[in-house]
């Protein structure tokens, strides 16, 4: 399958990646080869087959809605690249 510049732009935007020009060329080639290979699935007749997401069907596994963990805000924030006033810090998004 031929992968166009437009398709690579689109999937990299969906995956929130910005590719360098040489990465983009390699990705076009690799994705093309992989999708060509994947296309062999089309040979298999799957008419009337229900798509199966999980091998064993389990439905509505419920538990009581009670808090079991402690307040470990400080510990969780330790992993944040930037924090302020007990919150995660992000660039200004609304003017």
């Amino acid at each position: 399958m031929e992968i166009t510049d437009q398709t690579i732009e689109y999937v990299s935007a969906l995956a929130k990646l910005s590719l360098q020009p040489e990465e983009k060329e390699k990705a076009k080639k690799d994705l093309g080869n992989i999708l060509t290979y994947i296309d062999m699935m089309k040979e298999l007749d799957t008419d009337g087959i229900e798509p199966m997401s999980h091998a064993f069907s389990m439905k509505n596994v419920f538990r009581d809605d009670v808090v079991t963990n402690e307040d470990n805000r400080e510990e969780l924030l330790k992993n944040a690249p930037k924090q302020k006033d007990g919150c995660f810090m992000v660039p200004k998004t609304v003017d």
Binding site: L14, A15, L17, M52, H54, R63, N79, A80, P81
Partner: protein, 503 residues
């Protein structure tokens, strides 16, 4: 007596009988790690002080009369670095999680600790478990203890190598498309991928959630059974964990396959299979027949389409699961960006490696509007057909037998250049994850000739020499006991093949 050569069960018995202390066991493992890590690089981090502190605690508890029934008390165990350990870096072998310190333990880690096992360190892997060689690790490749020019397999290559190199008694791995079984085969050790829902995934950093399972890697079937028994069981923190199954695996350690019905899919021995691997697998078949098993060939439906369907499903789930790495809550953040969108894009582009980016893009593509039906939905239908094929097979057979991988361990650097070729190496393993089934890889001899080469066209033919061959036994859902019993029977007919280790 060299402590590190004992099996986990032998070690814990000696500890219980006070022939050895837990601290002695841990110190033996730590000194072996110091000696051998320069050659093999199985670990990303070693928890030296923490392991010794755990040892003293467990020893005291043991002396107070606890852990008398635990098969793993005092046993040093390595954990793959995508399984969360509280207060200890858990990186997924990725730059994007290089500094991540989990604030909690994975349920399997808690269960090991509750059984008195000692967590020794975190093992190397392919980045985010995406790969078959452990070469995509941000921290560098692990080497195969049988031959340091070869890969240990992957993605749990560090776990398999640590066990083979006697740098751990047991290791936990994770298996999404073969990542426990294939490195176990390449390193000459035993590994179990349990039935989906047998072991809690809570605290396992997600790759493809509908396929991921944690399982043990060890130097004997008994050690695998003991570890699986400890880590399995329902967990409120993972709703896909199944409640009803029985988790007694150690009582299945019996040398008896009389009347066991074993099926071999005809296609498993077609082109692409290394003749040395075929010879090894057929050797095991002869043993099973001799021991009274009934072995027959049959046609397994839709299995040829497992690899393409697997890569669609796994990549789709990965693209969703990995969207959480945004440089905000944890992990790497790009130093320089303009606005929130650029923060995301630069963080992710700088933080993820090539194979991970590739799978996220494939995932985004197959889920995108216009392609969803042709790829993702189609793959889910193929998955249903694969499951039906196995269901029909298990009406006739108790176990399905085949190779774990089409070759023995490949040379470092031979696989990464062509992703499609690397994916073809998963031919025998991915269908098992798609159908949610349990499977074990167990050594079945060594190859002769030169190391396998992937340089030619198609799946490599091998001129192998002295590299381990893996046999895969697949069980019916929750049929772990069947495959453990058969593997144990085979193991009893051979002695453990040990690599010549660098000291």
């Amino acid at each position: 007596m060299e402590i590190t050569r004992l099996t986990a069960i032998e070690l814990s018995n000696k500890i219980k009988q006070k022939e050895l202390s837990v601290e002695e066991a841990v110190m033996a493992s730590l000194s072996m790690i110091k000696k051998r890590e320069p050659y093999y690089q199985s670990y990303i981090s070693v928890m030296e002080e923490d392991a010794l502190a755990q040892a003293r605690k467990i020893q005291a508890a043991l002396e107070a009369g606890n852990f008398a029934d635990s098969p793993l008390v005092g046993v040093p165990i390595a954990v793959k670095d995508n399984i969360c350990t509280k207060g200890v870096a858990t990186t997924c072998a990725s730059k994007i999680l290089e500094n991540f310190i989990p604030p909690y333990n994975a349920s399997v880690v808690d269960r090991l600790k509750e059984a008195g096992a000692i967590i020794l360190g975190k093992t190397n892997m392919d980045e985010f478990a995406m790969g078959s060689t452990t070469e995509t690790s941000y921290f560098g490749a692990t080497k195969n203890p049988w031959n340091t020019d070869c890969v240990p397999g992957g993605s749990s290559g560090g776990s398999a190598a640590a066990v083979a190199a006697e740098e751990a008694f047991v290791a936990l791995g994770s298996d999404t498309g073969g990542s426990i079984r294939q490195p176990s085969a390449f390193c000459g050790v035993t590994g179990i991928k349990p039935t989906y829902g047998t072991v809690s995934r809570y605290g396992l950093i997600a790759y493809a959630s509908s396929l991921d399972q944690i399982g043990p890697i060890a130097r004997s079937v008994s050690d695998c059974a003991a570890t699986l028994q400890v880590i399995s069981g329902a967990d409120d923190k993972d709703t896909t964990c199944v409640k009803s199954a029985s988790y007694d695996y150690m009582s299945a350690l019996k040398s008896d396959v009389k009347g066991l019905r074993i099926g071999i899919p005809r296609g498993y021995f077609s082109e692409g299979l290394d003749p040395e691997v075929k010879k090894g697998v057929l050797g095991a078949v002869a043993v099973f027949k001799e021991q009274g098993a009934i072995v027959e060939e049959f046609d397994l439906d839709a299995v040829d389409y497992a690899i393409p369907a697997y890569y669609v499903i796994a990549s789709a789930e990965a693209s969703s699961n990995l969207s959480r790495y945004d440089g905000v809550k944890y992990g790497y953040r790009s130093a320089d960006f303009d606005g929130l969108q650029e923060l995301y894009k630069k963080t992710r582009s700088e933080g993820f490696g090539e194979e991970v980016k590739r799978r996220m893009m494939i995932g985004a593509f197959v889920l995108s509007s216009g392609y969803y039906d042709a790829y993702y939905n189609k793959a889910l239908k193929v998955k249903a057909l694969i499951k039906q094929g196995f269901d029909r097979a298990f009406e006739r057979f108790d176990i399905i037998l085949g190779p774990t991988a089409p070759t023995t361990a490949l040379k470092l650097g031979d696989s990464l250049s062509d992703p499609v070729k690397m994916y073809l190496g998963d031919i025998y393993t991915v269908s098992v994850n798609m159908a949610g089934l349990p499977a074990i890889s167990i050594p079945c001899g060594l190859s002769k000739g030169g190391v396998s080469s992937n340089k030619s066209d198609g799946i490599p033919s091998s001129k192998s020499y002295g590299m381990p061959i893996g046999l895969q036994l697949i069980g019916r859902p929750f049929g772990e006991r069947d495959i453990i019993r058969a593997a144990y029977t085979l193991e009893k007919t051979n002695s453990y093949l040990r690599p010549t280790l660098n000291d």
